[in-house]
Amino acid sequence: MPDIWGALVASWQLVGDVLWREADITDRLGSIDLFWSSVGVAALALLSIGLGQSGVLFLNRVRGLRAVISGSLALALLIGFRLLDAVVTWGVALAVTRRPLPLVTILTVFLLSLAPHVFNALTFVPFVGLGLARVLELWSFLVLFVLLAAAYTLPGWLALLITGSGWLLMQVLARVLAAPLGWVSSRLWTLATGEPMIVTGANILTSGPFVPVSASEHPLPGASAPATGERA
């Protein structure tokens, strides 16, 4: 019987080690133990993200099947974008260093870089939370940069270049993919709920649950032609 509580505690300790560099974990990169602990770290981060987002769904009276769909879709998109981020940055690192790292090592690095997001639930604090979200992203970037430099034994400037290039490519890709992903998500929502729904590119880029707009026609006040977009 796996020790879930022990795993959670160990993951939380690892979060502290990663964030405040209390222990040098770089010599353990590549070990299976650290990999599984980093999965725990990612799980804590996703839990924190999910906690706040589920509150938004609840307050918008999105319950039952729609809540499950919205939450699952948001989770899938979040994990998908993070995986894509990992693949893109790994690709840039491979192109620059010509050294393929073991999959376990690279996955461990990217999972551990999610450690700052255990505080993600706090981004729901009004106004201050917006700044905190930026801080967490920057912190996550710095953790990735430090661990990548250690994993590839790179000088700092090169690690920063690789991490920065990966981030930039990811921003471009996310915007390119947002529209087609929105189309696919709209089809999924429509199939699941039986009502025509619209998921926009902006919804996709929020990396969180959203309440799609119904694709029914609703005359806007003062408009002569009906317009789409009525809050579901």
Binding site: L59, L122, F124, V125, P126, F127, L130, P221
Partner: protein
């Protein structure tokens, strides 16, 4: 021990902050969105009516302007403004009989429910009384904290639209109760003191969509670069020379920073829709503040007299219309610097 106490206080503060947006979000999901759409639809269906005149038979005269006052973060209900504030507004109303002043809207709730109209009204009443009887007590600052968090909710682009819609509807209801005729084109000026500055700007968007020609005055206001600035016909900012608290606005809100030239605030400045007034050597609140009516300031002028004079000038003159007339036709009032 101290560490635990401090940690507990921080945790309590964070919990308070996390709960702050829930009220407006809950209001929006339960009734707010329907109420907003209904009000918009009703307003756009009604034909535009010209202002009623006293000569027309059976017509109820409308004032030339409505003024809605939104007080600072220390209030517990819309009608609980301080005696100093009441004195200033009585004088303004007396000086400008053609203007109707409304000072009963509680600005720190999306559903116009004051702190005294809730299940927790007992606690808020006790805190409100305590701050007058025990001025050194820290507990009553819980009122300020609660209301400051609502100011942050209003300024947050995620929660602000729903909160500000609720406040706009509360102001709209108050206007209707005081005889405002939809579509009449009678201008409405929102006057916000301190945190009320942000609330005034935030409420401007929906009011403008309801067909109200809206402008705003800030008295030592703390406000961000709210999209409401794009809906204000004009904005007057009265700044006290010794008021440090109002500096939180340009410090904390990125849209007010000099290197965000495309923000609604900077656009309003560039369009010439912002007028800055020197409020004199006054502090933010309490003695020697904007509303001080018992002691003259260090410049020999009673702060309340100066404030009444500025408000009379602003509210007694027609609202500058956009597009603005050429600069040579404008006559800047006293204490004013047009930016």
């Amino acid at each position: 021990m101290i560490g635990w106490l401090l940690g507990g206080l921080v945790a309590l503060l964070v919990a308070f902050a996390l709960l702050a947006p829930l009220e407006s979000l809950r209001w929006w999901s339960s009734q707010g969105s329907v109420q907003t759409r209904r009000t918009l639809a009703l307003t756009t269906k009604q034909p535009s009516t010209p202002p009623a005149t006293t000569d027309a038979p059976g017509a109820s005269p409308q004032p030339e302007r409505y003024v809605v006052y939104l007080s600072g973060i220390g209030v517990v209900d819309g009608e609980g403004i301080s005696l100093r504030e009441q004195a200033v507004w009585h004088r303004v109303q007396k000086d400008l009989p053609q203007v109707r002043v409304i000072a009963e809207v509680f600005p720190y709730a999306a559903n116009d429910r004051s702190l005294l109209q809730r299940a927790t009204s007992g606690m808020w009443t006790w805190l409100d009384k305590r701050r007058y009887r025990h001025r050194e007590s820290v507990a009553p600052y819980l009122i300020n904290l609660r209301n400051v968090l609502q100011v942050l909710v209003s300024a947050d682009p995620r929660y602000g639209p729903t909160f500000n819609a609720g406040l706009s509807l509360a102001i709209w209801d108050a206007l209707r109760e005081h005889g405002y005729v939809p579509g009449s084109g009678v201008p409405v000026t929102l006057v916000g003191f301190s945190g009320g500055g942000q609330m005034a700007v935030g409420a401007a968007s929906l009011l403008s969509l309801l067909g109200v020609p809206v402008s705003a005055v800030s008295i030592g206001g703390v406000f961000g670069a709210d999209p409401g600035f794009d809906h204000l016909q004009h904005f007057w900012d009265i700044r006290g020379g010794r008021d440090r608290l109002r500096l939180l606005g340009p410090l904390v809100f990125p849209g007010r920073w000099p290197f965000t030239p495309s923000s609604p605030w900077h656009r309003a400045m560039k369009d010439g829709r912002v007028t800055i007034y020197d409020g004199g050597p006054v502090v933010h609140e309490g003695r020697n503040s904007y509303f001080e009516g018992r002691r003259v300031g260090s410049d020999g002028v009673m702060p309340a007299d100066r404030l009444v004079g500025i408000l009379d000038t602003i509210l007694g003159s027609p609202v500058p219309q956009t597009p603005l007339p050429p600069p040579c036709d404008r006559t800047p009032p006293r204490h004013a610097t047009r930016r």
